[in-house]
Symmetry: C2
Subunit: 751 residues, 2 copies
């Protein structure tokens, strides 16, 4: 077991590396050459332009003003300065609700830590079991934990009582937060300006009709069944092949620019090879080769575009149907149209940016089969992922590498190098798998057939949460692979499982403290440095950028990766809840993580991230559910731990907690969840009435005409969605927000 | 273990008693005096009148025509003769779908039995394990069961293979049946004539408004949010006190009639006492006493009626809101109205007869608490019901009885009588509890706050199903109370539970065969005899009937008791599925039960039962879910049993079955369930359009005016609902059904 000394050491190392990241960030962000990496959001908003124009040559790239270096930490207050309503305006509701999860973590854990230190730490400290048993090695941390209380002691009733207080406090915070988020969402939906998705419903599984095309069938069906409200429709083309062509052409164009730049610099015509990656095949003049390839591809693209537009088979049995009013769309999205509930399926149309076009045409039965297969696959992935990893590890040995890359033989044969490879290789294989895991999970969600990016993100997060729960949380507490755990659990009485896990919990406190520091603290510090986008931007900037517009595209603001970040927050809150009654000393480490992460993500949301879509915080029910699961797990583990301590009736005393938690979950679900799935008719009616009064002559049909066209048909238009222009140009209700300039100045260049 | 001999004996006894019931039924039903007991449905429909008028005095009471006695079994073909569409017309869809459950049982079990006898019985019979082990006692039935196959034999693969065939066949039948029932329901809803509930939505949790009464608030809200479709509304009065007064008055009137009849017969003015049940208190003249009491109560009733109608506090925050078209009602019932999803809750209005008036005013939070409490109570009822029973049993001994009824002392002290009481009393206490159980469960469902009788029945059935599953099925297989089982299960590995139960399954086959005969066969035979209604009718007929209308009311046709009958069908299908792969010999007994029950219930539905409400078969999703649960239980138990037989990979070979079953359940749910919860807009639109064309001048507001008035306000009108009159007088689409007379003649008096 690690002693306090060990923790001091690892804390020092982590703090040092985190500090190094922060200093690097503070210096790099002040260099004008990095401006587009650390403030892309402002560029996207058109509120910041290259600082290089008006200055001397050197100061275009390096900041020479020494005064700004004095204030390397002043991004922190700047990140907190922007008020929430303005932040919603600036970055969207999704981002704001996301950073509220960190705040929620603080709200739950801080009072738990205070109470834990005031009540439980003294109770544990004076327990003095561990000091009497000199044969056991124990750390100072264990003296503050529940292990220090003798078996059968009445002191445990303090822990039982506090676990009730902790649960009730968590209920209160969760309930209040759900209420706030639901209100924010409804407020956001009600106040936001006209958007195409407010009037539009996605209709899937249009049944085939022998006499009518999909378009005619949709039009007739809605004319008959929604006569008073139906306005227009937009069919969905199967443009997957076209999208591939467009993507390929873009890549070729990048190469073309690259060689053109090279030619300009060296004045020597560059050559390339026609084979794989320009490595094999006959040598040709690169510029000619790529320009001819691009020409060929342009022709193919035009032909495919014509085919898709004219071929009735390219129309998939799905459509975006628009209504004359929000009320009509709300009615259609919430009701069942046909007798057969597997055809004419309606749901709210996602935002145009949010649509995942490839999945719109899957019939109901196939969807059902796909979900079954993915559920089975997920089970195997979670419990058996070690098997293929071990197989690859056995292959990836020295001999294997020598076979594939014979030229590296002399290097590898060196004794010192050999041992390093043999030591690190298995770890690297595992690390590569863990890096690939979110992509694998996202692919599984795509196979499941969801039709919007936001749903895909939510479903991937659910899968990743399960993986972390089984393989990180349980896997760290009980040694052995997940499959071995599963086997143990199946052959153990259900009442024994919380005991087995619960007993190991106090012993793992020091491990989790180190984990929080290394994965949490250092991870967040690395997040703000944006090392990968920084390197990629400079590579692109050097080789591919010709015009200011190219530079615009080279800048990749990225977006919050909900599918991987949220399940990790859940892990930290789970640790906080589990250890709150057992080893409260762990909580301050979590609190520092949440406070730091809140600060960093608020900064990133203001200055960096540009969300791909806006779902209005629709992921909150998932967050709430997983928090509740964490709460129940912590209660069961405490029950298991206490049942080994010889306290009479501890199990019965704690049993109401999980029952209450399940009830609380159901209550909150009934109370708030529909705010995230349905749109109340009352709100729709208010907005319709207001709009009719302010803009009686609005041509809605023209407004909606091109809203839901597959992005490849929009050609070379900028990717910025129509809706944002509309919002800015035609605010339905004029707002009186203060200018964004103040906040922008505050968070840039340390003014 | 029972041998085949034992089964022959109990089969003979059961068959004899069942035959006795049938003969009694065949004779009693031919007596004119019993006509109203055995054919009340036809009286209710107004298609049969008392046969006593036109005949001689004796033949008014006794049937003297010897020829009719020759044909004592011809009710059976008569019961099968009425075709299904006509039966729906005659008895409603609920009854028809209910008797289809018996048919479904046959469809599942008959092929299972055939395959079992063709494949598994020979495999088991030639296994010869039991014959070699002479030390064990075994019955002939066990030789046909899986116990006769030696451990580790390859023969078990026949059982594994057949369990796949059985599962797939069950899937097929369940899927086909769900499809048929869903189609029948939609067909029924689409073809049925105008009914108030088609246009009406029940709105609950109307929020309080400081400036407006509930009525004004409802009217304004719907005027604003459904401007094009809103028609009218009907507030709900809290008339519980008034209903109590009306019921009390009716009881007094019965007593008054009773004494009046007595006076007429004896010409001596009867006396009664004013205290409890006429047993205590001062003696008074009965007729005067009751007539004055009735007068007093009538005044109180009138005062209360006025108070309810005028006092705004008597209006509960719920209302029945009607729309101009079915489309408008369908839209309102399926959408969310308010931002706050716990107010303005809308759902389809139940039929006027189906409304459970007491529960309309419960706020959302209270509902949620009530459901939590009832869930906990149900858990205790299922697992700990033996504790209060044992307590009452310990009280209900000889001394206790002597204390309460001192006069019975000499009788009880007799030795022979004493031993009988001591032997039977505990059993009687348990039996009384089991008879009361459905009432207890129904009360619990009422406390849960459901707003229609059909939902109450469905929820009670769910609770009873759980009780039977734990206490009858598991309780018979594993001896010991449910609580002991629970304890065992908690302290056993999850993989062991199916083993523990599965191993005992083959040994309990003979027990369940006896159970099926005694509870199933004899129970059904008793069902057709209608002993309790027979006795009650004759008592009422003798003491309370003065006019033909009184006789009409004395006749109690009753209705199918869905809440207790359906879970018992589930038990038999569960037994069939469990034993299909283990002891196929059991299946014919179940087949006989289902065939006989189908016949009997079809007869009862045609001639006797008069349903209290018509829900359009909305219970089918529950039936389907419980059948699926039974299927999964049978698969898990087979897995458990085979895992003790030393067959390699048997568990892995069977594991796909429960996974497939869960997937099948989800698929069917997605595919069909919405037909039972929602009303498709397409159908609503078709009916609206048709109606607008055929009856352009319909005054819908007048039609709906009094539809949803609390029954006590309808005063002394006959209880027959308005809607049926309407249906008969104004058929929307004229039907060409053949006259009901033919079928009526077929099933009465053996023509």
């Amino acid at each position: 077991m690690a002693t306090l000394q060990d923790i001091y050491v690892s804390a020092a190392i982590t703090l040092l590396s985190a500090f190094a990241f922060l200093v690097a960030f503070a210096i790099l962000r002040l260099q004008p050459i990095n401006d587009r990496v650390f403030f892309p959001k402002w560029y996207r908003k058109g509120m910041r332009s290259s600082p290089r124009r008006s200055e001397t040559f050197v100061s275009k790239f390096v900041n020479l003003d020494w005064r700004t270096y004095m204030k390397i930490l002043n991004w922190m207050p700047a990140a907190l300065r922007m008020p929430e309503p303005e932040l919603i305006d600036h970055a969207g509701l999704d981002s704001v609700v996301y950073i509220r999860i960190y705040l929620l973590g603080l709200k739950i854990i801080v009072p738990l830590a205070l109470l834990g230190f005031l009540v439980l730490v003294p109770v544990n400290w004076t327990g003095e079991t561990l000091e009497r048993r000199k044969d056991l090695t124990f750390s100072d941390i264990d003296k503050l934990s529940i292990s220090n209380v003798p078996d059968g002691s009445k002191r445990f009733w303090a822990h039982i009582g506090m676990s009730y207080v902790f649960t009730l406090w968590t209920f209160y915070v969760l309930y209040a937060e759900y209420k706030v988020v639901a209100a924010m969402r409804l407020q956001y939906l009600a106040s936001e300006n006209r958007r195409p998705d407010q009037f539009t419903v996605l209709v899937r599984n249009v049944p085939p009709d022998p006499d009518e095309s999909v378009s005619e069938h949709v039009e007739h069906f809605f004319f008959v069944n929604h006569p008073d409200y139906y306005l227009t429709y937009q069919v969905v083309y199967n443009a997957n092949k076209l999208a591939t062509l467009v993507a390929k052409k873009k890549s070729l164009q990048n190469w073309y620019t690259y060689y053109l730049n090279k030619y300009e610099r060296t004045s020597k015509r560059p050559a390339t090879r026609t084979g794989f990656c320009g490595l094999f095949g006959t040598s040709v003049d690169a510029i000619d080769y790529y320009s001819s390839e691009i020409r060929k591809l342009s022709e193919a693209e035009a032909a495919e575009r014509d085919r898709v537009m004219s071929d009735p088979k390219a129309i998939v049995p799905a459509a975006f149907v628009s209504f004359k009013s929000r009320w009509g769309a709300a009615v259609c999205a919430q009701t069942q149209l046909s007798r057969n509930p597997t055809i004419w399926l309606t749901e709210w149309a996602p935002e145009p940016r949010d649509v995942y076009w490839n999945n719109l045409a899957i019939p109901y039965f196939e969807l059902s089969i796909r979900r079954l297969l993915m559920a089975v696959a997920l089970f195997f992935l979670i419990f058996f992922f070690m098997i293929p990893i071990a197989f690859v590890q056995s292959l990836a040995n020295i001999e294997g590498i020598e076979k594939v890359f014979p030229f590296s033989k002399p290097l590898i044969e060196m004794e010192s190098f050999k041992s390093i490879i043999q030591g690190f290789l298995p770890g690297i294989v595992l690390k590569i798998f863990l890096i690939l895991l979110p992509t694998i999970l996202m692919t599984m969600s795509k196979i499941e057939g969801f039709s919007s990016l936001s749903t895909l993100d939510r479903r991937s997060a659910g899968k990743y949460h399960l993986f972390i729960l089984v393989n990180v949380f349980l896997g760290s507490i009980i040694t052995g692979t997940a499959f071995q755990q599963l086997k143990t659990f199946l052959h153990q009485p259900p009442a024994e499982i919380p005991k087995t896990v619960g007993v190991s919990i106090p012993m793992k406190a020091t491990f989790f403290i180190t984990y929080i520091m290394v994965d949490g603290w250092a991870g967040i510090a690395a997040e703000i440095l944006r090392l990968v986008p920084l390197v990629i931007f400079h590579l692109k900037n050097t080789f591919l950028v010709k015009t200011e517009q190219d530079r615009e595209q080279a800048m990749d603001p990225g977006s919050i990766d909900f599918a991987t970040s949220e399940p990790r927050i859940q892990l930290y809150i789970l640790l906080g809840l589990v250890y709150s009654a057992i080893t409260p000393v762990l909580l301050p480490f979590i609190i520092i993580f949440f406070a730091f992460a809140y600060l960093v993500f608020r900064h990133q949301v203001i200055n960096v991230y540009d969300q791909r879509y806006e779902s209005g915080g629709s992921f909150w029910p998932d967050v709430h559910r997983r928090l509740n699961i964490g709460l129940i797990i912590s209660q069961l583990l405490l029950m298991g731990l206490l049942s080994t301590k010889n306290i009479e009736k501890s199990t019965s005393a704690l049993l109401p907690l999980p029952i209450l938690s399940i009830w609380f979950h159901r209550y909150c679900k009934g109370r708030f969840e529909s705010a995230f799935a349905k749109f109340p008719l009352q709100d729709a009616m208010i907005k319709d009435t207001l709009e009719r009064a302010t803009e009686p002559n609005l041509n809605l049909k023209a407004y909606l005409k091109d809203a839901y066209i597959h992005p490849v048909f929009k050609g070379s238009e900028p990717e910025r969605p129509q809706s944002i222009f509309e919002e800015e140009n035609n605010p339905l209700v004029p707002t009186k927000r203060t200018s964004k300039q103040g906040s922008e100045a505050g968070s840039s260049h340390g003014s």
